[in-house]
Symmetry: C2
Subunit: 365 residues, 2 copies
């Protein structure tokens, strides 16, 4: 219900299939009224349908009235990538959300500065890892977590695939690992956060988060591609929970890995994760076992920190291929505000020795 | 915790990038232990890691122990399309779920036969449409819905983009349209179901569903790509709600439209929608304004009805390009168990006349 473009939501698209002008018109109609344009009343054509702000070759910018996205993040996602997700050859390359829209969103509760305070780590990267492999008992995962906590890691998460398997049931696992990490922190004077995976049924996610907190878990891992971005937002907004949230990219890959179609990496893993409350956003590091390029990773890093109303910056969290000899390259590439997710390299040889070496390498660069 | 392949979950992949054997090994590890294979204990290598059951050129079948997917549909989605969604050149082409797994899922509460009973429509296609365009007031949407209900349509849904916009607030709209449809049904002796869009914040979805029911809405529209498949499942499982559910493909398109990467159409819009409780599954019809081919649509139709334990069949619901002259082609193609979603064609000219002509054409074929 706004008149100026300044208060509109602007989306940049790259159109690789079909005539860009025709596809752009289809998008502005499809993402709003989904109705024959010529049959819509004139005021709806002008105010409700998206407006084409610019076209340059295959690059098109469309603005949407804020009224169109009324109803929260679910409708924002729907306008951004609802029916148009079914168009081949369309990719979202940028997104500008006005301050008046962003004012209605909290975003990450902690963000970069809040997590630094909570972890009493004023400088340098966050050092993160996951307990695994699936099949390991709760007790053994707990001992592993204790070793890593005592070494000085900041974040110890469940592997995201740990759900409610017979080998380590969710409830038992979260309690046992929380206990081990608390005890290790007390003994070693460390401050590690244990982060259980909220890979749980939709009707359990809030209770599970509160239960995790009540047994001592210090943070939460959420899979927004599975549980929904807005479910993550409700956890981030919950004042009685008030725990840091790390977002995992499960089920989201097809939105980014096809270069001609989808959403640019920084928008999905930076902007959207931030508005949905992720303090830390995991993505596959370049040069690891996945496919992201250095440019795509740099885009995520940038969007995790770019100005976004009053919404805090998130920690980019590259994972995969984090060997000891790459650590200084990675902190150079990402800068100090990065949550390095160290995986298999920690387990090749002695865990205590490896964990200590990682912390040493990262805290005394 | 099962020993026989018969009780495992089997997934077929087509691998278009890289060496199929290497990628298959990467998948079976990535989707389970996400840990260096050689470092995992032998029993975990054998029981927890996925097993390669067959390889033929670029087609690979991997089986997963049921223990791996313990924890509900969220973990099933994670095993199917978690990290592997980030692999370029991998596509899921089929999925076999054992009866022992399916026994834990309700699936659609109504399905094809249940909706036929509820709608007192023993034969022929379901005739469906949406009220729109966005921008229209609740009163005008209500009048439109009444006209369509009186003509004998079975399902009248909110356009999926109707959320909580200033032009027709969710609560008011749902009440007003419910009233209009109830009144039209009483007067005309018809039986139309009004289906509000549950495109609402995650922490509102259950209350919104119950509120919709309390004001007389007869069914629900859910966007599992936005709200989460398991959120839809919780609505389908809710005995105190017990309303038919239609699923919309918003935000899911990138998972299917890139031929080398993603999930085959029938698996996503057939199998996964069914296990998550969709009575009706919407997808873009071939020859409409989107991109699905006749083969892809046939695959969805097939998977909506294929044997799947005791889980009921869902209605395939093609949308887009439903003009009067195509109706007999479409009922030939899909067969009588189809929920035809008629859009813009209804509004070109007089709505009352068009709606009557559509019903006439479809009930007296």
């Amino acid at each position: 219900m706004t008149d100026t473009v300044a208060d509109c939501i602007e989306v940049d698209y790259r159109i690789s299939a079909g005539d860009p002008a025709e596809v752009a018109h289809a998008i502005r109609v499809e993402q709003t009224i989904e109705f024959p344009f010529d049959l819509a009343p004139e005021w709806i054509q002008q105010q409700v349908v998206g407006r084409i702000e610019s076209t340059l070759d295959r690059h098109v910018t469309i603005s949407y009235d804020q009224g169109v996205v009324g109803g929260g993040i679910t409708q924002l996602l729907n306008v951004l990538w609802g029916n148009v997700s079914l168009f081949p050859g369309v990719r979202i390359t940028d997104l500008r959300l006005p301050d008046s829209y962003l004012a209605g969103l909290r975003g990450p509760r902690f963000g970069i500065s809040g997590l630094r305070q909570l972890l009493r780590t004023p400088t340098g990267p966050l050092i993160c890892t996951a307990v695994k492999p699936m099949g390991t008992s709760s007790q053994d995962l707990g001992k592993m977590a204790a070793t890593i906590a005592a070494a000085g890691f900041h974040v110890i998460k469940d592997d995201h695939g740990l759900a409610d398997q017979p080998w380590a049931r969710w409830r038992e696992r979260v309690r046992v690992i929380s206990d081990h990490v608390s005890e290790a922190n007390s003994k070693a004077g460390t401050n590690a956060l244990y982060m259980p995976s909220l890979n749980v049924p939709a009707d359990r996610i809030h209770d599970a988060a509160h239960e995790a907190k009540s047994v001592g878990a210090g943070a939460l891992l959420v899979l927004p591609g599975v549980s929904g971005f807005d479910a993550m937002r409700t956890l981030a907004d919950d004042d009685s929970l008030a725990l840091p949230i790390m977002a995992h990219p499960s089920f989201l890959g097809s939105n980014v890995v096809n270069p001609q179609q989808g959403i640019d990496h920084g928008i999905l893993f930076g902007t959207l994760m931030r508005i949905a409350g992720a303090d830390i956003s995991i993505f596959p590091n370049y040069g690891g076992r996945f496919s992201f390029s250095p440019e795509e990773c740099a885009h995520i890093k940038e969007k995790c920190r770019a100005p976004l109303g009053d919404i805090q910056a998130s920690w980019p969290s590259p994972g995969g291929g984090m060997t000891l000899d790459r650590l200084s390259e990675l902190t150079d590439f990402y800068g100090p505000d990065v949550a390095l997710l160290i995986g298999g390299a920690l387990h090749r040889g002695d865990l205590t020795t490896n964990a200590a070496a990682m912390v040493e390498a990262l805290t005394h660069q």
